[in-house]
Symmetry: D2
Subunit: 336 residues, 4 copies
């Protein structure tokens, strides 16, 4: 049984609280928030859990094994450092930190102290994304050819970050989870329509050492909501429409076969087309967060890295930083 | 009455023939094709029209006012030159020619000889595109913010051109028709999966001197067919789904209002959101080609440039050439 | 301020509790449930509200003005009778009671005691249904021609009622709310596939004294979920797709014009077709239940019938009973 | 090689002509139409085929083996009788004739003269319907539970027949082709909005000796076009959406398992739900008509009944007649 403290009762904290309480492998000891009123309101249904306005109540409790941090992004780093220095395992909301430098420091600290550092890439624990990973890993799609994602709607214009830092962490954590190959460069184009230099529409292309390519359309200013990802393989092609209430993933037995005509037309390519069945696999409905907190507990119990560990959070940060540099340099190719 | 000759009986020629015959302002005198069998088959239902295997039969006929060229792209330039030199008005299938240099020469020749040169940008004559132009021109959408187009499916891999030269002329001619502002730079990313150095997937971003942006996803290797364009304005947003059999255009009364908070939070932006009715305007079902051939005849009769004249064809060529340079330079920004 | 007691903490009760607390015109005094554990769990976040395991605690409290009943259907009648006899206004979950006879008795009792009796036809308070009523009442649709509803999915097979008693109350309460004309007969067809004589698929046709017709497809055994209603008028036609996350109502400016050809073909009808714009009106997102509880309070304060009063509940019951008779008589026409 | 004559060059005739010419097992000798102009226009591309304005030119030609009749419905019977009496095999457009009596006479005549009589139920030769029959016949769907079809749009109001005679032949011929069990009764409801006593909206329920049920919504006055059929089986459920350009048939591995609880609650049913993968089988794109004319030729060559023989046409006629009686009797159950 892993004893847990949660820091932060804002938007996401209550979800963590609910799942840590429900998880048979975790025991929620403390919840902390600086805002006393919010804390009281959130904790009303849980009289058996301790409330704290100061995190040191948690850190000084020797029974606490691990801390989950669900606070604003710029506080992730200092809070995580303190927790790690007080010998607590740490789970951090995404993104892991505000910069690659901070992320690297957290990863180093955790390793040094033999502690688990995990990043809450929630999407990776959904039935849909796990199924996609399973399909890719099994080789059913064949050699992977491209990854294309559209994540657009009329969304909340953030005040401090652009649309990339707001939406891309979802896609990049999924990409990192499913696709083995590592991107080596990024080119990003976007504009700001609100006059504050924060892009509200962006197009991001990731380059690889192979002929694989990935691309992301991120947009807060679209009249229609679209959440659609294509993962194209040489054998099969997959479309994930997250807004389809019934069949979120469809796998198409479609593709091309390429032959070189060595006789009549030297070098001419002969392309033929395949079009077979489509199927939509049944996808587990288990709540992603329940699996995420279980994985956190298991990684601590089994003294192993979690599926979305600090390194994964760091890889996402690296792409985000490079993307930011590219978009400010008019789409120039930036090495990752 | 404009007397017409048509060169080329392949895929597109028969459509031109049918429409020139139906148009009350044109009189089809000649049809020419080097392939005698194909010519005979196509002309069987039209015994009153002359057939020719040699274009000089057409060029030497003093009664012929204008020639329509529907042949492979690399023959557009020499054929159009010959026709213009023989004092015939010219309609050319898109793209206008194989290079900007050729396109400029054609435009120059036509002007010098007081002849109409027109490019068959068919999409510009559809009810849908005309309605979109009307909406943009009327100011109903407000200030234009971006143009995003997705044109993907499991398509025929061409042997001599990449997916950009195959599909982008559609989008670029529509962009040219509807959007007044001229793009100044392009960045294009893409890869070839067939091993022949011809990209089958490409992402194209056009940059402007303002905060307008346009983007195109072109793809021969998609499991699903998508034909969707968003034109976002400051007042209203438009979505064109060309595969919707009933309502191809939807106009959303949605948007944001941005205010600067000069009191409490200096510089902080206050963004509020509007969400009103959506409507789908009734769109004319008149065949685009019938309007295109009528416009060709009218431009000749009225001695004026047509809606999609040689200059329009040349503007599209300029973007295509710059895009090609960018994709071969790994997405580098190329001036148009 | 109306003082309220709620009876029943099952599926629906907590929603009523939340809304009575939030409503500025109501004051929640008591909540009652026979199951002590469930009661405690539901009431944990509301320490200021009294809990009771026996309804007489509520009925004997002179401060209580009105009682809301959210218990199993067969208990609606006895509970409502007791409340009315104790001089409390009553709100009952749908359906109002188990039979027309019971419903008539409740309506009589309420009238005799000058008390408000209201039925919680929640759908009638949604933005969508209110907008549809507004469109019909304004005459925008013209003369109404038919009402067609499909409400199917792989649904929970109820143990005590067939698919009609489970799903049709939704549609019939909406029909009653929007359509002025009263059905005079019903014919219902259906079968049971579970071997328990409770139909899991049913088709219900309502006949009228005019050429209006309404029809309902109700189905627990469909692979796909459909919630679609067409209200066709002589001027415009409306489609309500409750599963569309963005545009639930679409209004089509479509129709036919019928003329009688008195010259050439005596009696022959000349039908011409109109097809204009479609639009999707913006629909209020206010929670239906919040408007429902407000209407309950207002009807008491203003001593007037509510929008969905006991009479409305009774009209729905009458159709349900007739439908049940028809389906058991192999679809025979039954007078309502 | 079967020598063919075609009677009728209206809407459907040219399709038959094209397919008889393309079919390697048929030889088109004659085409006949009373309207000389129409005949000349249709036959222009086929100089090698004989034209006739009088059917006796065809009937007296000893080389003609079979005649296809594509004329108005009320002429089907007299023309087919004449052809059969002149010893020609006969293919008739649907419906087979104007009444059951006529249909029975045709079937009798054909049998008496050892001639093939076939009804052109084109839908039965589409890839989609053949695939559905294959799935049903293989037992993959399990025991069949119901057949539900919606065929509605803003359609052409016919002058002489109601919406049932116009649209139901499609559905009834498909039902007859796929479902072995024979309906024993029909109940139909509908109204006429054009004031000519011809229903433009109709709901048709077919009853069976088992707990199978089938239902049809037919409608000329719908703002949206829907072509959707559900065939529900105990093992799997199938949805055919004919307007889906990509995946017309979807098969859902969904269903219920019903057990009787013999212990605690005697007689109480325990219903559990299955929800597995969905798949969309690849469907042959071969033109239905090409398979239909081939089947006509094969049935003659092999002296066997065709897949959609006169008996099939007659079965459809019987349901149509009973449906007509029911709708005129206010939906009364009519024995078929």
């Amino acid at each position: 049984m892993i004893n847990i403290g949660v820091i932060g009762c804002g938007y996401w904290g209550p979800n963590l609280i609910r799942n840590f309480i429900a998880c048979p492998e975790t025991n929620l000891l403390w919840v902390c928030d600086k805002d006393k009123k919010r804390l009281e309101k959130v904790m009303a249904p849980y009289p058996g859990v301790n409330s704290a306005e100061d995190i040191h109540d948690i850190l000084s409790d020797k029974n606490v094994d691990a801390v989950a941090i669900a606070t604003p992004v710029h506080t992730h780093f200092p809070l995580a450092v303190t927790c790690l220095e007080n010998n607590k395992h740490v789970l951090v909301e995404k993104p892991l930190a505000s910069s690659v430098e901070q992320g690297e420091e957290l990863v180093r600290l955790a390793k040094e102290n033999n502690l688990q550092l995990m990043c809450d890439h929630t999407f990776c624990y959904t039935g849909v994304v796990r199924k996609m990973k399973e399909l890719v890993d099994s080789g059913e799609l064949g050699e992977l050819l491209y990854f294309d994602s559209v994540r657009i709607n009329l969304g909340l214009f953030q005040q401090d970050i652009n649309v990339i830092w707001d939406l891309a962490p979802h896609d990049l954590s999924i990409l990192d989870f499913i696709i083995d190959e590592t991107p080596v460069s990024v080119s990003a184009h976007g504009v700001s329509h609100a006059g504050n230099n924060l892009e509200n529409i962006a197009y991001v292309s990731l380059g690889y050492n192979s002929s694989f390519i990935s691309h992301f359309h991120l947009n807060w200013l679209s009249p229609v909501k679209i959440r659609k990802t294509i993962i194209c393989g040489s054998e099969k092609m997959l479309v994930w429409n997250d807004l389809d209430p019934a069949e979120k993933i469809k796998i198409y037995d479609k593709g091309i076969n390429v032959k070189r005509d060595d006789h009549e037309n030297r070098g001419r390519l002969l392309v033929s087309y395949r079009s077979g069945n489509m199927y939509a696999p049944h996808v587990s409905q288990t709540e992603a967060l329940s699996l995420m907190v279980k994985e956190f507990a298991s990684s601590i119990n089994e003294k192993r890295s979690s599926l979305t560990d600090g390194e994964a959070g760091l890889r996402v940060l690296k792409i985000l930083e490079a993307t930011q540099r590219s978009i400010k340099a008019d789409g120039a190719n930036v090495r990752i």
